[in-house]
Symmetry: D2
Subunit: 400 residues, 4 copies
Amino acid sequence: MHGYQHLFVPGPTNVPEPVRQAMNIPMEDMRAPDFGGFVDGVLTDIKKVFRLENGRVFIFPSSGTGAWESAITNTLDTGDRVLMSRFGQFSLLWAEMATRLGLDVDLCDTDWGNPVPVADYAERLKADTSHQIKAVFATHNETATGVTSDIAAIRKALDEAGHPALLFVDGVSSIGSIEFEMEKWGVDLAVAGSQKGFMLPAGLGFLGVSDKALEASKTASMPRSYFSFEDMIALNDTGYFPYTPATQLLRGLRVSLDMLLEAGMESTWARHARLAQGTRAAVAAWKGCDLVARDPASYSDTVSAIYAPEGVDAREVISTAYYKYQTSLGSGLNILAGRAFRIGHIGSMNAVMLCGAISAAEMALRDCGAEVEPGSGLAAASEQFRASTPDARQGQSKAA
Amino acid sequence: MHGYQHLFVPGPTNVPEPVRQAMNIPMEDMRAPDFGGFVDGVLTDIKKVFRLENGRVFIFPSSGTGAWESAITNTLDTGDRVLMSRFGQFSLLWAEMATRLGLDVDLCDTDWGNPVPVADYAERLKADTSHQIKAVFATHNETATGVTSDIAAIRKALDEAGHPALLFVDGVSSIGSIEFEMEKWGVDLAVAGSQKGFMLPAGLGFLGVSDKALEASKTASMPRSYFSFEDMIALNDTGYFPYTPATQLLRGLRVSLDMLLEAGMESTWARHARLAQGTRAAVAAWKGCDLVARDPASYSDTVSAIYAPEGVDAREVISTAYYKYQTSLGSGLNILAGRAFRIGHIGSMNAVMLCGAISAAEMALRDCGAEVEPGSGLAAASEQFRASTPDARQGQSKAA
Amino acid sequence: MHGYQHLFVPGPTNVPEPVRQAMNIPMEDMRAPDFGGFVDGVLTDIKKVFRLENGRVFIFPSSGTGAWESAITNTLDTGDRVLMSRFGQFSLLWAEMATRLGLDVDLCDTDWGNPVPVADYAERLKADTSHQIKAVFATHNETATGVTSDIAAIRKALDEAGHPALLFVDGVSSIGSIEFEMEKWGVDLAVAGSQKGFMLPAGLGFLGVSDKALEASKTASMPRSYFSFEDMIALNDTGYFPYTPATQLLRGLRVSLDMLLEAGMESTWARHARLAQGTRAAVAAWKGCDLVARDPASYSDTVSAIYAPEGVDAREVISTAYYKYQTSLGSGLNILAGRAFRIGHIGSMNAVMLCGAISAAEMALRDCGAEVEPGSGLAAASEQFRASTPDARQGQSKAA
Amino acid sequence: MHGYQHLFVPGPTNVPEPVRQAMNIPMEDMRAPDFGGFVDGVLTDIKKVFRLENGRVFIFPSSGTGAWESAITNTLDTGDRVLMSRFGQFSLLWAEMATRLGLDVDLCDTDWGNPVPVADYAERLKADTSHQIKAVFATHNETATGVTSDIAAIRKALDEAGHPALLFVDGVSSIGSIEFEMEKWGVDLAVAGSQKGFMLPAGLGFLGVSDKALEASKTASMPRSYFSFEDMIALNDTGYFPYTPATQLLRGLRVSLDMLLEAGMESTWARHARLAQGTRAAVAAWKGCDLVARDPASYSDTVSAIYAPEGVDAREVISTAYYKYQTSLGSGLNILAGRAFRIGHIGSMNAVMLCGAISAAEMALRDCGAEVEPGSGLAAASEQFRASTPDARQGQSKAA
């Protein structure tokens, strides 16, 4: 196979060259006397990406799923009642984990394609005057459906109900890519992973923890060891880790943080918005295709889940894109299998890459019998991109 | 700083160039249709390194500590009695984890410098006629003291007592480096990590599981999710993982397994033995220095823990080696802090690298006031190396 | 800047990942006893890419320009008459070099956009009954105009004239990419460079030399040293080089040769033809644009030079593509500056990459005032690509 | 083979990790609008390593041998008389090239092991009152014998004779490593290569040219093209090159220059002196061994050529080091073949690496029958290294 293998899954995302270079290293002693200073800097700067002033961000050698578990086992007790909503594969899996770990899960589901049903949440919180609900969970960006939920509104619902529950947010496919304000929104536990907006290989789970959640962890009684806050806090305070950290990824993370912070989070969010708009323009132009996300207000700027036209098997589209066009599109998960495919526009991405994704999807759709007009998606997307892409000659920072 | 930063900690170990090359890659779709075939091959071949015919090896995105936890939570019940022995930092930490996770730990400690007290284990197992002990834990290679325990003898003790307890082995710094026979020795749960004998960066925890342990996992009731066998089995059987795997490390692992299996495990074990002997010859020649390990029968072939001469602070030796000679020696952990330093001779290592380690340690020792004779360690080691190092011209495989 | 920097200049071309991995190495001793065996293999296999049975291929640490010089200084004498044709920037530069090096250059120019005027060559050769012409030069693929000349026809002209002149061919942007048959076409000196069809960074000049040319070199009297055949032959015969070779590039070349030969040259040529056809379909669909190449029979399968529409400055198009769309298009050189831009479809390239190139060019053209229809190029190209791209599921080799 | 392949040839030298990282890149357009700015910076900074205020440094895609040729063909005329001295393989090869290129070489040879015979040069220059000698050549550091010549003294001889000849210096294994002052010493043409003190792979030839030499090039009449100053000046002045530059190496060179200039040249020279002293201490301690260099005043700080003891074949020592100890020592060249081996202590090197080299050489010597005392070389060297190596804790810059 020649040329790039094109990657448009919503994670792992494309790794920027400076990050790739930074990971091309020999191993090092994670107990070296100057390693602690390096770790300090990373721990300080990752908080800026979470937009967290107080509290901490923990870095686990795990996937984001591990950080989900850490959030639960460190702050809740077995049998605690929690409010959750399932509206896609990842919110569904998180609820499954909560159940396994012994929580009493109060489900507030909605159709796939919708965001967290904030009004329902608000109602239940208001009704819960005895504060049986210990935690409220929300999947910020449901990667399976391309839907972004309104976390600020959930905070507002909690506040208006005067409810003390902890607010858990799955930000795996949002943090570092689209607007996320951990401190401002009063999020207590925010989960992220290295292989999405942080533009690294998979292997690090990130967990933002508010002071309130840190306080809760002191009395929470679930058994935990690997993902325990306690050891992590003790060692992180000296600049080290309780077990061998993934130093190669940490060196990559250093560069990834530099790139994100140098550009500024707002600039990164704006870039994702531009790229998403172009992609959605293509979808709108494709005859018979439609976004899984129902309401423009909750369209995700990191991933678009797209229904294939009636009679076209989305699995075939994905397989054709892969085997014929060397292009990885995201699968339709669970009930969307066969019905939808996804285009990830997250991470280190640019307009011309997405023109390639749109072209590949269009060719594969046509190969599979869809009656989309040749060039129709690209025509719509490219006019969007032309209008929105900054020109580096016009004083626009190249770093953005 | 110029030239190599010399790395002689007992993990992370030096990464061979072919493994480093294999990890220098763009990201890929871990749901790609041909990814499963790749995973199948890795899962099959890693069993050969564990010397496991039946059962499974799980690969977790975690450190080895995560695999410790997985072994416990999947096969035991809260309150189960387990037999453990503490004789170094890592056996101590494992016992601490067992306690935290709610096991009833029966400690059978011995002095640091000794291996697992097999005779004591045998006695307790014989005495436990009602089979209250559900599992026996052994740290195969105690990385803190450079001591290797006799796992086959523990199996014999279990068998002679007709005891059905599961046998848990921490093989983090032994598997892939020194003799380890999971199937033959009847080990039920064997823990390893990517950053030791597998010559990879940290980030993967490996867990070998016997059929007996797999059976036990079906009824074991501890809460578990991230490290659960169940999901891993279901997905591994299709060639995939329950959450985003660390594909970069898996690509490196593929090459590492190829290197290990091409050379043959026996050849790898023999190489470690040769390099360890040379290193120990140097220690013997250093006036005032001594191995922490007491009995030659339990000298570790992957790491030597070395007492600094009376009056010499081993921390100073390590710091001098680092800051003056760009050489990372292993620290003295816990009660050995200040008293001992360590030389790792594990992984992708050769005689001349160890000549460098010995030279650096000797210079740092002298800088810190030790009265070791200049060149004395190297003189002893080099004669050992001369006698034992194979000559690639004499039909010796270069792969070894 | 995020995402790929898209590279569509006709060299340096995109480096395949396996080649990039192979160059990520420490330095090595180029006098090591087993280095010679490695060099032997490379020298043998590169001949297969040149399609040369007899003779030799020399590898110089230089650009292709150095190989041009080597061809001249080793086989001709000062004052020798040579037949050359200028029809683009690179044929022009070669003629300039020939003049500087003291040859008597008989020019047989034609308009840029045409190939070597074979009929004129034939006429002059027939007329040269006293064989004053010592060498005939032809630029196989004129990279500036995207025109491929008919080398077999020139050989035929020489043969029909019974003319003994040496046949020099600049194959820098053809060898390894489009049909080239050094032995069959009776080419005596064939120049190539690492950064085109060989998919490596710049830094190696390749020179294929027939037995006849080797014979000529024994008496040729121009001063030469660095590019002398004599030393190179003497050392190559032992597997080494007369001066320090670029070992990093040689290790990359080893993998590049493996990729080319495993796929087969015919398969590589066919791939370039498919990609070129798609690109040309886009050009044909762009209102106001036209290929610089005039005759479909001489359209180049490695690069298309494209006239921008009247009133559109091609330099602006290129600059916009670069600064706004992170896409490097080829410049219009010399008299084509401002009038044309180029799309390289050479080397490690695939259809979706070219969809990106076409999209970027289209957006940049529109930004600069061209009235090309949005999506028009992509629509035409994508239907071509759909029809011609092999599907790896249909038993098509992925290596192709 | 496991662990590092130890490289102690006097070039190619070990590549520092940051340089290796910088070369791990995709290809780029060498005509990109911002490439020129990058080139400008490189061309400016490389002059600082040559210690050149005026004049220029040219960067050729070639080995250092190419820069030798460029120096000659651009500034001299066929038949010009030049003063040269042969006292090692590289001074010999340069004289051979001068002859081939048509110069009238006045040889002033001396035994291998001596430096340029400055007194003889002075005499001939004084005697040459008609200024027939157009150029004086000196090999600053004869890599074959480990001898450094006194360039300042040659300048003095020229000045005292009031002689206008150009001063050519081969600084391939000196510039960037040991004291070299192009401007202060009045050197007119100074040759260097990427694979020595610049710590890069082979592939770039550097040529420092004084204003006087630039002036000479305007009238010099030798045929030249690839290595011509004229085109290089014209293009360099715009930030580009007359033919495709080796962009990968240029990106590495950028980092290499940063490392050299950040540390400061004096610091780099001092580091080489320290490492050389330690190595020479080992040689002095080896029974039966001796340096090829005769006079301590001309001992080279970049390479030591070492006579093996009587009766020991140095080729066997080198081969044993390579095949048994994975260590590349430098060969004895020409008349030194079989009699001497070399240890390069040039480039990105440190004391512990040299301890490895000394150990490997000692073991190989003993394997081949030499009666050197085990550990004797290391004992002597290590005491030197202990005394001279800076401790990064004592406010010593780690960059040095």
